[in-house]
């Protein structure tokens, strides 16, 4: 009994130390991918991509395309808020690629050395007004956000979409009267989809991803808060070759196509 327990414990410790991106081993020398040393290394194995939640739909599509182009490779996604992902990477999570929804969260990992290469901005995203299908409250522009009798949802200032919202309201000289400050952009979108709020500010890509239940209204002040998305390969990427190939694919014309269709802007 106690022996098998010890075996389990040893196995767990071994697995943990293998997985740790920030653990002591110096990456490349122990990687299985380094067996092929041709100019264009045949990539294999899993590529762990840590990507901002707003990239969920487009990156899932990109991952499928990438797997088709490279048989034998599996892209494993970890979608979450950029700041949560940055924390995970800094704590040694086994990430190969980090795609952040804001430069700030990328800086969080470059300052600790978890990413040493230069991050590349691959897309931009702007805010759009989201209203429930049919626009029941007849929202026409940003000025409607100041009306106290309307139900308004925004992101909290602490998260990127909330910071962007603050910027556009400042630029437009409008004092918004929100009823709720949600923890992330998807939570805001849920409130719109369920018709619990009359208007909200979300990213253009979220309006596209939401389908028929949400309508988007563009507004001129949106260019005051353009969100840049940087992408980079992790310094201790377990699958560095796979990571580079994936980043190249995201930056390729094919990748750009998928991202543009999802509503992202060119950098």
């Amino acid at each position: 009994m106690s022996r098998s327990l010890r075996a389990v414990a040893l196995f767990a410790v071994a697995a943990l130390s293998l997985v740790g991106c920030g653990s002591g081993d110096t990456g490349a020398s122990t990687e299985p991918t380094t067996t092929s040393e041709s100019a264009a290394p045949a990539i294999t194995g899993d590529v762990n991509v840590f990507a901002a939640a707003s990239l969920t739909e487009s990156f899932t599509q990109l991952g499928k395309d990438f797997e088709k182009a490279h048989p034998g490779v599996k892209v494993v996604f970890n979608f979450a808020g950029s700041s949560a992902l940055a924390t995970q990477i800094n704590q040694g999570a086994p990430a190969d690629v980090f795609a952040s929804a804001a430069p700030k969260n990328m800086t969080d990992v470059t300052t600790t050395g978890a990413i040493t290469g230069k991050p590349v901005t691959f897309v931009t995203n702007t805010l759009e007004i989201a209203v429930p299908a049919g626009n029941p409250a007849k929202i026409t522009g940003l000025a409607d956000f100041a009306k106290p009798d309307l139900k308004i949802a925004l992101c909290a200032e602490q998260v990127p979409c909330g910071a962007a919202a603050k910027k556009v309201f400042q630029a437009a000289g409008i004092t918004a009267a929100p009823d709720t400050l949600e923890q992330d952009v998807k939570a805001v979108l849920t409130k719109v989809q369920l018709d619990e709020v009359d208007a909200a500010l979300v990213y253009r890509t979220d309006v596209k991803a939401a389908g028929d239940k949400v309508e988007g209204i563009e507004f001129p002040e949106s260019d005051k808060a353009v969100n840049e998305y940087p992408i980079a390969v992790c310094a201790k990427a377990p699958n560095a070759d796979g990571a580079r190939a994936f980043v190249d694919y995201v930056l390729s014309d094919k990748g750009r196509d998928v991202l543009t269709k999802a509503g992202f802007g060119a950098p």
Binding site: P178, T180, E182, E196
Partner: protein
């Protein structure tokens, strides 16, 4: 009873003691981690910033109100489950415990679908009475009550099943009505279970996050309870999040410890 209990203690077999210690460490070490990482130097100013006080007050008020709602509805429900002569009682009991296993966020969405302004019930509340529950403090209380009530019901139901029915029967033969019997005989005999359930319920309500933020949203002073404040602080200022967590931690430990003696000392 006491001698038997003492005899049962004695030395614990190693097979049990070892995992017990690991279990204890697993639960306690993360808390110690919070204390180690706390920004003690700025603790004071963080604590007395207006936002923390506001969130703390709101948390205490909402958790207490939610507990009252749970008591008013949960004790009768527990009585129904324990004593009621119902077909399909097992199914009912399982349904009552659903909020225990349901991810709270899903619970929040469910509440929106029923009580939201376009919800099955909520649309009539809105049309007939002009009541809109999402994004209000009342919404926080409801979300917390929804998640916390099973803790009370399970605890009280257990106490009711363990209580000796003969006392109630004796009261009935002496002419007491069923309501009088419940108040004067049943309730005092299950008091420890009710207290335990109330404390668990309150503690669960105090820490509620998912259902609250989904159903009631997040607005300072109106619906931002401590757990919500912690979550958002984590985005920008992990130090502040730790301070808020420690406040929540101290509060629950104080309440649990102060009530524990009382509910254990009472005879079962």
């Amino acid at each position: 009873m006491t001698t038997r209990a003492r005899a049962r203690r004695g030395r614990l077999p190693v097979v049990l003691a070892l995992p017990a210690l690991v279990g204890l460490a697993f639960l306690v070490v993360p808390l110690a981690g919070l204390l180690v990482r706390a920004p003690w130097s700025t603790l004071g100013e963080q604590l007395f910033s207006g936002e923390v006080g506001q969130a703390l007050t709101l948390s205490l008020v909402c958790a207490s109100l939610a507990t009252l709602v749970c008591l008013a509805l949960g004790v009768p429900l527990a009585w129904l489950l324990a004593r009621g002569d119902l077909p399909g009682r097992g199914v009912l009991r399982a349904l009552v415990t659903v909020p225990l296993v349901l991810p709270p966020v899903v619970g929040g969405v469910a509440l929106l679908l029923v009580l939201g302004r376009r919800g099955i019930v909520g649309q009539y509340l809105d049309q007939w009475f002009g009541i809109s529950l999402p994004f209000t403090t009342a919404g926080v209380v409801l979300a917390e009550a929804f998640v916390a009530m099973p803790f009370l019901v399970i605890s009280v139901e257990g106490a009711l099943r363990g209580a000796d029915v003969r006392y109630e029967e004796a009261a009935a033969t002496l002419g007491a009505s069923r309501w009088l019997t419940f108040r004067r005989v049943t309730l005092p005999s299950i008091a420890p279970g009710v207290v335990a359930g109330t404390v668990l319920c309150w503690a669960r309500a105090l820490g509620e996050f998912g259902a609250t933020i989904t159903f009631a949203g997040n607005f300072p002073g109106r619906t931002t309870t401590m757990p919500l404040a912690v979550y958002l602080a984590l985005e920008t200022d992990p130090g502040a999040a730790i301070v808020l967590s420690i406040v929540l931690l101290l509060l629950s430990v104080t309440v649990l410890v102060s009530l524990r003696d009382r509910w254990i000392a009472t005879p079962t």
